[in-house]
Amino acid sequence: MLDYKLHKLEMGPDTLVALTEREAALYYRQLVAIRRLEAAAAQLYREQLVRGFCHLYTGQEACAVGLCAALRPQDNLIAGYRIHGWAYLMGVTAAAVLAELTGRASGCAQGKGGSMHMYAPNFYGGNGIVGAQISLGTGIALANKYRKNGAVCFALYGDGAANQGQIFECYNMAQLWKLPIVFVCENNNYGMGTSAWRASSNTNYYTRGDYLPGVWVDGQDVLAVRSATRFAIEHAQQRGPLVLELCTYRYAGHSMSDPGTSYRTREEVQQVRQRQDAIERFRKICLEMSLLTQTQLLGIERTVRDEMELAIKAARTDVELPLSHLCNDVYAGSYAQLQLRGVLGHNLEHARSRTESCHE
């Protein structure tokens, strides 16, 4: 039995769900892959191969795996800055995620975007401006409705971004225009080092849409998230926007430079890890329901380890883009003077590095 809290809704997501052996193996593999991927990111960061920002998703894996499990091929997604796991599930290979972190040419944005700027078909990226992705996602939903393509857009944000003004602007317009969007608040309890209760007058984020229906979901439970997402897709298509609050927890600091101990206790982190860990909980379900054997689970873990080892190797050894790419892809169309200004004068030739996946 899954547990939900509802806001402005008579009926919520299904509380009894089915899980096949194939699905169990897939979700377990994805959960473990994201955790390993982030471990690899941390390792590369410590080796000083990752520069600048690096926000780990460790602890929140069930949100991404459960949500992506319910997505249909046409649905789209846009997220904030903690996106390595989301990019991976939306089709970017582990090697392309890690190579983007190390800034190499085989990265999914050829190394030019970095940790927060990864893109894939139907994945409109992370975003380094907290809350900006909500407005962009609402626009993607508008495009879905405009085109009548039946797609639903998922716009993700955290409990920190939940207080940005533009979110409320978008709740309003999405409801006025009945846009097919699901606002997904991943509440990991801390916006950087500020706990939810110190930042929000109302920490029930699923009710913050006021007139928008909302569902509180146990974000440490893959199946609860999957069921809530299925419900949300149907609701967004039939009736309009709603808010999902996925209650979760981040094990690491806000970013690699944050030990994550000044604003919370080590005991708190330990307790969540011991009692609420998403992977442990799902592994238990798989074993108790006899969906997967211990051997199968170990086999999955081994496969993931091999995948990540190869990815780390590629991210370490691949080359950076040649210097000529410095001034590529500033413009998609013609730029009257194809020379951009370099450090000392107008002497850089502007060019496009690829022609696919542009709307021209």
């Binding site: 944005a109 050829q110 962009l136 626009g139 978008c170 309003n172 317009m173 500033v330 169309g333 009257a336």
Partner: protein
């Protein structure tokens, strides 16, 4: 009252340089109708194109630029938004990322400050951050620059602000031909384009020849136009300052000085080639703009001369005529003196020409 006087000034400026009977016989069209017909053409041509903003639909546009379009194209293509710039600008950018062709109207560019994050961080940078995977074909348009009697918060030129940012294209039309041709090019462009219209010129009628009415009449972004040829001094201006420059040219002509007037049309890219070529002939240059001086459009043109061989063509230092370095006062007499007028431009030309004035 003020507006009608300005309209008279504009037609006086036209008379001053358009003396052939052929030109006087051509059709007149207001800037507003030029913009309105450009929107109409492009909405009809491409069903991905839509207009959104405050009061664009049922009210017919705060400045009536979108008059009649809602009746013709309906709610789907002409979308009234709440007063919520950050939200709807972000929604427009998101729709563009998803392949639509939004035209985002700011009631005035002063209000675009509420949304500037989406213009800069979401629209301008995404193509580069995604290494050429996600382009943003959007137009941000609306009235820019000083209006009359509306005080500091509603009287400002944003040309320098937006032209500062790589990834954006910025155009600043002066007359009807510019407005129509540049807006149509902007809508068809695969990159984000900022179209800075001038509120005081919306009602001004300019002569247009038959080619301007053509559905495929386009003005290339990044090309300036020589409004009046001359051999003694080059005067570069954009938007309403072109009118000031033309009036000054008529005054200078009485003193035997032939000024060449260049209408920039595009602020980014900046057509330095046309300016360099003109100065190779005249050897003197002044710039005229209604924006503030520091780091302004004129400042950039000066800097480009410093860095180019064309510097050696100058017989005297370049002089800038700019808006006074103060927030715009409401006081009528002070406001009048806060922007460059034709006698200021004439004085600057005489100063730059020095003892050579009128001696050629």
């Amino acid at each position: 009252m003020l507006r009608s006087r300005l309209t008279q000034a504009a037609s006086a400026a036209q008379r001053a340089f358009s003396t052939s009977p052929k030109v006087l016989a051509v059709k007149q069209m207001t800037v507003r109708d030029g913009l309105n017909s450009a929107l109409d053409d492009e909405l009809a041509r491409d069903d991905r194109v839509f207009l959104l903003g405050e009061e664009v639909a049922q009210y017919d546009g705060a400045y009536k630029v979108s008059r009649g379009l809602w009746k013709k194209y309906g709610d789907k293509r002409i979308i009234d938004t709440p007063i919520t710039e950050m939200g709807f600008a972000g929604i427009a950018v998101g729709a563009a990322m998803a392949g639509l062709r939004p035209i985002c109207e700011f009631m005035t560019f002063n209000f675009s400050m509420q949304a500037i994050d989406h213009v800069i961080n979401s629209a301008a940078k995404t193509f580069y951050m995604s290494a050429g995977a996600v382009n943003v074909p959007i137009v941000f348009r609306g009235p820019n620059g000083a209006s009359a009697g509306v005080a500091a918060q509603h009287s400002q030129c944003f040309a320098a602000w937006y032209a500062h940012c790589p990834g954006l294209k910025v155009v600043s039309p002066y007359d009807t031909e510019d407005a129509r041709g540049l807006l149509k090019s902007a809508i068809r462009d695969p990159d984000p384009v900022v179209v800075l219209e001038n509120e005081l010129l919306y009602g001004t009628a300019f002569p247009v020849d038959d080619s301007v009415a053509d559905v495929d009449f386009l003005i290339p972004i990044g090309k300036a136009k020589i409004m009046r040829p001359g051999k003694d001094i080059t005067i570069v201006a954009h938007s309403k300052a072109v009118e000031t420059a033309l009036l000054s040219a008529a005054e200078l002509a009485k003193k035997g000085i032939e000024a060449e007037i260049i209408n920039l049309r595009s602020i980014r890219p900046l057509d330095m080639e046309t300016i360099f070529n003109s100065v190779r002939k005249t050897h003197h240059l002044i710039t005229v703009e209604n924006g503030w001086p520091q780091h302004g459009v004129g400042a950039e043109i000066c800097a480009r001369f410093m860095e180019d061989q064309a510097f050696f063509e100058l017989d005297a230092p370049v002089w800038r005529c700019c808006g006074v370095d103060v927030p715009m006062p409401y006081t009528k007499s002070l406001e009048l003196n806060a922007l460059p007028r034709e006698h200021d431009v004439t004085a600057a030309a005489l100063k730059v020409l020095g003892s050579k004035a009128g001696k050629k």
